[in-house]
């Protein structure tokens, strides 16, 4: 899942970015409203964590303009203003959730995860495909009841495919949602990660779940290609 953090406080921005990256998110950061709007319009984010009081462009103005330009990422407003009218104003501007500073980082992570699930139409935190279980909260994967140890990047790819179950996902889409701007993405990084993922999921002679659709990308499905 790819997340954009728009926050003018460098310390807070870097702490949130680092914390979310450790949770397996691909995280980009912007320090002011104009930069944030540019990122939101040029990259397809699953969740945008947005401060309201920003230099250059107010967070609410950013949100309004982003929605007008068709940005459909889930938006979590992060602000120090807790008055009801402030919350209403934020939600009416197109935000999906609201978190008041100071906040628990665990709560921020939980809300970002919930918004990511909503983005892909999932309600449960656990996604099941045949005998495969992907626990999006615990970031754990089981197949046939056996725990499978995945690297963070491999888990991120699997979770994104699981959210898009039975739908083909292109390499570029996977790159966009799994890697952030700081990541050094090699040309075959996705293919290599998918190969490793298939190998790790191939336990106890289970049938393959990740299939290649030529010209379309990869699909996670219990049915064949």
């Amino acid at each position: 899942m790819r997340v954009l953090v728009v926050e003018d406080s460098a310390r807070l921005r870097e702490a949130v970015q680092t914390g979310l990256q450790r949770q397996g998110f691909a995280v980009d950061a912007a320090a002011d409203g104009r930069q944030g709007l540019l990122c939101a319009r040029t990259t397809e984010y699953d969740v945008i964590v947005l401060d309201i009081m920003l230099p250059e462009m107010d967070g609410l103005d950013l949100l309004t303009e982003a929605r007008a330009k068709g940005v459909d990422a889930m938006v979590l407003l992060l602000t120090a203003r807790d008055a009801v009218e402030d919350r209403v104003k934020g939600l009416q501007a197109g935000a999906d959730d609201y978190l008041v500073k100071p906040f628990s980082f665990d709560e921020l992570v939980a809300r970002v995860q919930a918004l990511a699930r909503r983005k892909h139409g999932a309600r449960s935190t656990t996604i099941r495909v045949d005998d495969l279980e992907v626990d999006a909260t615990a970031k754990k994967v089981k197949r046939g009841g056996i725990d499978i140890d995945l690297k963070p990047r491999e888990y991120a790819i699997l979770e994104y495919l699981a959210h898009r179950i039975n739908r083909p996902v292109s390499r570029s889409e996977l790159e966009e949602h799994v890697y952030d701007e700081e990541s050094q993405v090699r040309s075959n990084a996705i293919d290599s990660a998918i190969c490793n993922l298939r190998a790790r999921l191939n336990v106890a002679s289970c049938r393959p779940l990740i299939h290649t659709r030529r010209g379309l990308g990869y699909v996670l499905s219990e049915q064949g290609p």
Binding site: R11, A15, T18, D82, F103, L108
Partner: protein, 517 residues
């Protein structure tokens, strides 16, 4: 607790009650006096009739009068009427049978005059007595041929005393007194009822006003007392109350806004600390030192904000000590601008126009903080394509410093709001350590050093101009201030821009540190 209704009622009653009592008593005694006078008149007439019945005939005296004559007259009351006629030697001439020879006494008046006075009758009742001593009319034997009552009577006047009971008068007078007491009491009761009703009706507008005021709660300070329809006496009260409410509402709004802004400004650094700490908890040990240093830095910024707030509070409450010294404002402003230009090469161009020898007596730390904050504010909020002008000029009343800079979307409403703590115009938020306290501090310090501050919007050039007018000497009228020769020896030391709070208790009098947000 005092009650207007009770006080008013009591006052009216205490004034009306004696009047009613006095009226009743006076009318009673007036009626009584009239009745008694009529009674006395009747007695005098009776006395004249009796006197005309006494005749001296030769050596004797005849009293040609029958008691029965007065039976049934106005003064007759049956057994309560007495008369006693005596000769000059005191011997009895004729008297009422009821006296049975006893004397009917009363003080003698002057001879020839009828005297009336209250007496005690022989039957023990109160009555009126009438006495008349006179020479009887002389009648010849030819005119009165018959026997006389007292032959060989001594010469001299005859004295007649009449006594009549006033019981027939006292009974109606007692009834009159009772009537007057009842009427007075009734009158007092009616007055009281009318008074209570009138006071209640008269106090209705006051009660309504009290209800209106009672209904005003901190949550609805926008409510106002209705001035229209109020009695003339209450209009000034309602008007003053409304003015007070307006001030109260504004103060509450400022307080609420301040609390909200303060909470907002303190939440962000707290969020920084908390998030950094929570994220660092899962970080490798070598990252911990960096995080701790960052947290210490946030704490220092928070302390700076709190110190500035305290300084504003002390300045506003007159608890900020100042140290007056001679300051060459022109030189100080030029040096300050030079330092700022050097520190912010990418900012909008800053021009300084300040002549030498602009000497004022003021607090160096305060004026340094005022000028530093104004210029920092202008540098922070002026677009890079705009310009900033800092100018100091001598005026007849002192020195005027003006800092002008280009602003975007600034309105006249913003002019007043910009001096409120934590105020920042929406959309003009800038990154960095600005907390929105700079201009609030400037205003508070201006008040402390006796400087006047005003802000103007120059729409033609889209510029905001802040003017600071300093008297040449604090507390001295500018026109009386003596002109002073400039002295280079009095140049104030320019201080670095390190933020430090101006402590009212510990601020050094000679070399205070500039204060900045």
């Amino acid at each position: 607790m005092k009650s207007i209704r009770r006080e008013l009622t009591l006052r009216v009653v205490t004034r009306v009650l004696p009047l009613i009592v006095l009226g009743c008593v006076l009318s009673y005694f007036l009626v009584r006096a009239v009745v008694y006078r009529e009674f006395d008149t009747a007695l005098r007439h009776e006395m004249q009739v009796l006197a005309s019945a006494a005749e001296r005939i030769g050596d004797g005296v005849d009293f040609d009068f029958a008691v029965e004559r007065v039976q049934g007259t106005a003064i007759d009351s049956g057994l309560d009427y007495f008369f006693d006629a005596r000769l000059s030697d005191g011997s009895l001439l004729k008297q009422s049978p009821l006296l049975k020879g006893a004397r009917l006494d009363m003080p003698k008046g002057r001879p020839g005059q009828i005297t009336v006075a209250p007496i005690m009758l022989p039957n023990g009742r109160q009555g009126r007595g009438c006495e008349y001593t006179f020479e009887p009319r002389v009648v010849t034997l030819t005119e009165h041929p018959g026997p006389v009552d007292r032959p060989n009577a001594p010469t001299g006047p005859v004295s007649i005393v009449i006594g009549a009971s006033t019981s027939d008068l006292d009974r109606p007078l007692a009834a009159l007194a009772l009537t007057e007491v009842l009427v007075g009491a009734g009158l007092l009761g009616a007055t009281l009822l009318a008074l209570l009703s009138s006071v209640r009706a008269g106090l209705v507008p006051l009660s309504s006003l009290a209800h209106e005021v009672t209904d005003i709660q901190p949550a609805n300070l926008a409510a106002r007392v209705s001035e229209h329809g109020q009695p003339q006496e209450l209009v000034p009260i309602a008007s003053r109350l409304n003015a007070l409410l307006a001030r109260l509402e504004a103060a509450f709004a400022r307080e609420k806004q301040f609390a909200s802004n303060a909470a907002h400004e303190l939440r962000t650094p707290v969020a920084e600390v908390r998030t950094m700490a929570e994220v660092a908890a899962d970080a490798p040990a070598h990252d911990m030192r960096t995080t701790l240093l960052e947290i210490a830095s946030v704490a220092a910024e928070m302390q700076g904000t709190i110190d500035t707030l305290l300084t504003i509070a002390r300045a506003n409450s007159g608890q900020l000590a100042i140290a007056i010294s001679e300051v060459d404002l022109g030189t100080y402003l030029r040096e300050l601008c030079a330092r700022r230009i050097a520190a912010r090469p990418g900012a909008a161009p800053l021009t300084c126009e300040a002549p030498d020898d602009l000497l004022v007596e003021t607090d160096l730390a305060a004026i340094a903080s005022i000028l530093g904050n104004l210029i920092d504010n202008a540098l922070a909020y002026t677009p890079s394509q705009g310009r900033i002008l800092a100018r100091a000029i001598a005026t007849p009343t002192g020195v005027e410093v003006c800092v002008r800079n280009h602003v975007a979307d600034f309105t006249h409403d913003d002019l007043e709001a910009m001096f409120e703590p934590f105020w920042r115009k929406r959309g003009t938020f800038i990154a960095g350590s600005h907390s929105g306290l700079g201009l609030a501090l400037v205003r508070a310090l201006c008040e402390v050093i006796g400087a006047q501050i005003r802000a103007e919007l120059l729409p033609a050039t889209s510029e905001l101009a802040v003017f600071i007018t300093l008297p040449r000497r604090p507390g001295l009228p500018a026109e009386d201030a003596p002109a002073r020769e400039p002295s280079s020896a009095s140049l104030p030391p320019t201080r670095p821009s390190a933020p430090a709070a101006l402590d009212s208790a510990s601020a050094p009098p000679s070399r205070p540190t500039p204060l900045r947000t």
